[in-house]
């Protein structure tokens, strides 16, 4: 038994896109204890939503919680508000929301896959993944008018319609993207050196996932059948060919493979949406004041996103509560690290795709 050494990982680290702090106690490379601090990017958004902004404006505020899953947060709030106030959203608006939400999932998954490759030391694959991710970013920019802050969904519908010209460009780009996504899936599945690095590293077993309430791609990679898209009816996923991707294994390799397969499924859904987009209005006016409480669950790219709102016939809501997927995945990360080699830590952290802006809000 050697002497205990304290190794801090973060708050600033080359492997991390956002600040999170892990303090590891190690004994000869093996980790024996870990502490986590996730509150580095706290901005007090929940409090601001309940004190400063009117209920029609909160959708734009929560969109600023996170840049990567901007549509998920807006979608969560907007769906909760619509259910609370009994607004019937037009079908075309629902399908457009679904389109943007799936494109958002594609770009978030590609970012996670690229970062994991980078942390494994595969700079080349990282560049290739990000190069193809740019196609999705351009599609989203065309469709919503901005690269990250979409501001697309609003209470009662969506803000922008899909014009025939945009649809034509989307189809062209989606065709290229499908080709590239298939190639990327092939690389992530069959690359020899990546498999050596990732197979059997950071394994989350099915029992662990069940016990620790893991959500999103890490849970599905462990063999746990959990996906809010199948469990909670908030958008017509079943009509556009949604399939749940579940793999066995639970290591970093499977987590990335789940993401790659979900990207392909999302592209398939986008084709179906573009082919069968219903005609009609994109927005209905929302009148009245919110009264009562409501919660919704949304499948953000990283897993289950939970929104709770409460209003009492006032312009400003009483409470807005956001529970994000990364927060649910922190306990299992802590459990995983104990007994692991320190060298595997960066790859494991990034393979969970932590979003600290969401977690701290």
């Amino acid at each position: 038994m050697g002497k205990r050494i304290t190794v801090p990982f973060g708050s600033q680290h080359v492997a991390l896109p956002e600040p999170v702090r892990f303090v590891f106690q190690t004994e000869n490379e093996k980790i024996v204890d870990v502490e986590v601090d996730v509150g580095y990017v706290h901005r007090g958004i929940e409090k601001a939503c309940a004190t400063k902004f009117k209920y029609m404006q909160v959708g734009y505020v929560v969109a600023r919680v996170c840049g990567l899953c901007a549509i998920s947060h807006t979608l969560g709030y907007v769906t909760a508000l619509e259910r609370l106030m009994g607004v019937e959203v037009p079908k075309r608006a629902l399908y457009l929301r679904l389109l943007v939400s799936e494109l958002d999932r594609i770009h978030s998954h590609l970012l996670a896959m690229g970062h994991t490759a980078e942390v494994a030391g595969y700079e080349n694959l990282f560049m290739q993944t990000f190069r193809h991710r740019e196609l999705v970013m351009e599609m989203l920019e065309l469709l919503t008018g901005n690269r990250v802050q979409f501001d697309f969904a609003c209470p009662g519908g969506v803000n922008r319609d899909l014009t025939p010209e945009v649809e034509k460009v989307l189809r062209e780009k989606l065709k290229v993207l499908e080709e590239k996504a298939l190639w990327l899936r092939d690389v992530y599945e069959n690359d020899f050196s990546l498999a050596l690095r990732w197979k059997g590293t950071g394994v989350v077993t099915e029992e662990m996932a069940k016990e620790m309430n893991v959500v999103g791609p890490p849970a599905r990679a462990a063999g746990l059948k959990t996906d809010v898209r199948a469990e909670f009816d908030y958008l017509p996923f079943k009509e556009v060919g949604y399939r749940m991707v579940v793999l066995k294994g639970g290591s970093i390799y499977e987590r990335n493979l789940v993401r790659a397969l979900e990207v392909l499924n999302s592209i398939e859904m986008c084709w179906n949406i573009l082919d069968g987009l219903p005609e009609g209005d994109i927005k209905v006016p929302v009148k009245g004041l919110p009264e009562g409480e409501m919660f919704v669950r949304i499948e953000a790219p990283r897993g289950e996103l939970f929104y709770y709102i409460r209003g009492s016939k006032k312009l400003i809501l009483d409470r807005v509560r956001i529970r994000v997927p990364t927060f649910a995945n922190i306990p299992v990360m802590k459990e995983l690290f104990v007994g692991m080699d320190y060298a595997d830590v960066p790859a494991t952290v990034i393979s969970f795709d932590p979003c600290l802006s969401c977690t701290a809000r």
């Binding site: 902004f53 029609m56 404006q57 734009y60 694959l125 802050q149 803000n159 010209e165 690359d191």
Partner: protein, 136 residues
């Protein structure tokens, strides 16, 4: 590994995907969400845009004679376009594709917000007094 090697060698001899931005222009795509343009001659001063703006980037100051003046801070604006959708007069507020230029001399927005608050209060007070007078 083989596929990546082939792709890497291909990339060595292909054109770069990135745009050489300062030398070449990098135009925003059509219908990009940029600056809000205001036309005073069309405005009916309903202040609907001020009410819906999430960050409060549109403020009206009240003059002594009761007329209002429009102020817009492009550096506070989040470009959501909510004011354009709320505007009852078509063409008064429009969203263009240009973005705000980098500016060193931003007007003192805090001071303007204070002035807008105070002038609104003074205006409402004067209105209440004027209403009372003919009755009494």
């Amino acid at each position: 590994m083989k596929e990546m090697l082939i792709e890497t060698i291909k990339n060595l001899f292909s054109k770069p995907v990135t745009v050489k931005y300062p030398q070449e222009p990098s135009p925003p795509p059509p219908n990009y969400r940029g600056l809000i343009v205001y036309k005073e001659e069309l405005c009916i001063f309903c202040t609907k845009c001020e009410m819906v703006c999430p960050p409060g980037a549109i403020r009206f100051t009240y003059q002594e004679d009761g007329s209002k003046k429009f102020h817009y801070n492009p550096y506070l604006c989040i470009y959501c376009g909510e004011c354009v959708r709320a505007c009852p007069k078509p063409g008064c507020l429009t969203q263009v594709e240009e973005i705000a230029p980098p500016e060193s001399s931003v007007p003192d927005w805090d001071e303007l917000e204070k002035r807008a608050e105070e002038s609104k209060k003074a205006f409402l007070k004067a209105k209440a007094v004027a209403k009372k007078k003919p009755g009494s």
